[in-house]
Symmetry: C2
Amino acid sequence: MAVEESTMIDEVYSQVTDPKLVRERRSQIVAAAVKLFSEEGYYRTTIQKIAREARVSPGLIYQYVKDKDDVLYLSLKDIMDSYCHEIPLAQAGIGDPVARLEASVRAYCKVVDQRKTATVLAYRTSALLPQQRREAVKAMELKSNQLLSECISQGIEAGYFSPELNIEIATYQCVMFCHTWALKYWRLKAYCNLDQYLQQGLPSLLNALLSAAGRDHYDRLITT
Amino acid sequence: MAVEESTMIDEVYSQVTDPKLVRERRSQIVAAAVKLFSEEGYYRTTIQKIAREARVSPGLIYQYVKDKDDVLYLSLKDIMDSYCHEIPLAQAGIGDPVARLEASVRAYCKVVDQRKTATVLAYRTSALLPQQRREAVKAMELKSNQLLSECISQGIEAGYFSPELNIEIATYQCVMFCHTWALKYWRLKAYCNLDQYLQQGLPSLLNALLSAAGRDHYDRLITT
DNA sequence: TGCGGTTAAATGAACAACCATTCATCATAT
DNA sequence: ATATGATGAATGGTTGTTCATTTAACCGCA
């Protein structure tokens, strides 16, 4: 007598129970999905196309997710996770809040640069998810934001950043500086590369946050 | 014997020839479409729903556009046009490049604020259009950008803005400051209103562009 | 080692729902 | 009368999802 098995893994229903296999197959599916969603959009991308691209059968996908929305959810999660993975790597070993924020923004821009179309995909498709999933994606965005906002808070406490800063606004000034590189790449690519973009944008971004004392501190940082 | 009539109006095919009627009906259709596209996304919004919302029959829509893509195109055009309409109104009578840029950004933010979901819609759906339409939308974006970049160029010539500025980057710093208000409103609304957003963001935005001489000039501007 | 027996995983053809678009028909104004 | 504008039911193509079936892996036992 067969026993019906099933699990939730990463909040997503799966018929298959072996966690290692689920991770493997899903990342195979997600890789194909992110590529096709980015190229053709969510609705034009059929499950059949994703299956073909991932070299599996359409039916297999439904062993690992409940529906097509779940594929999108896992795709966006994959993108957000790459932010949350890369930024802390860049922060490691940097204690000074100003230097830490600068390193974080650089790292953020670098992931965005490596995953430009995926970053744009997140803007295009988050709203297509059902309420609950959308909330989860927002929560992931906030988690990556926090990696920056922590630096800003610490910078304020240290007197380097202006004390009357609204931290949420300041955080989004940084986040959007990074995202803009992907969102407006279609235009900017004709005028600068990532290094030049950082070179012009980063100093003024930090300047927007720094206090008078912080400016001195920052000048000392970049000349050593 | 019936004579087949037809016209192109705003690059969009219409069976109906009377330009005034076309303008009226289309704006009726577009109003409904922008609302529904924003709420439910492009693909979930059926022509039937748009027709119901606009209080016309589904068939009528096809008297005024070739296909559903055209409805989206006209919707995005409507949004872009509102930028291109409002910004020049704010610029009228302001000669000083710095003051002119500030007024432009304020006006831009204000339209974005009034049409938040529409602004987000443009980000979500531009890529769904066929190549040629997408190019046209890009061209409209550039046209509104130009309203800002002209101020920046003039400001550089006048010595108020830093001469080594990359104008494209600088323009997008301004544009994205405005768009961010819509794109991240879901979060920012809990922390500030538009005035506070402008109060914190505008000075540092301008500071990013100003030269030393420009800073003096700007200080004089805001104290009078 | 080899061999039934059992379960998990994978397949892909078929189905049912959905929706953009058409068109035969009707209304209206000139 | 005639041409233009409006209607909305019908259609044809598309695609998410299911499920009957096949394949493969594993296990206990002789």
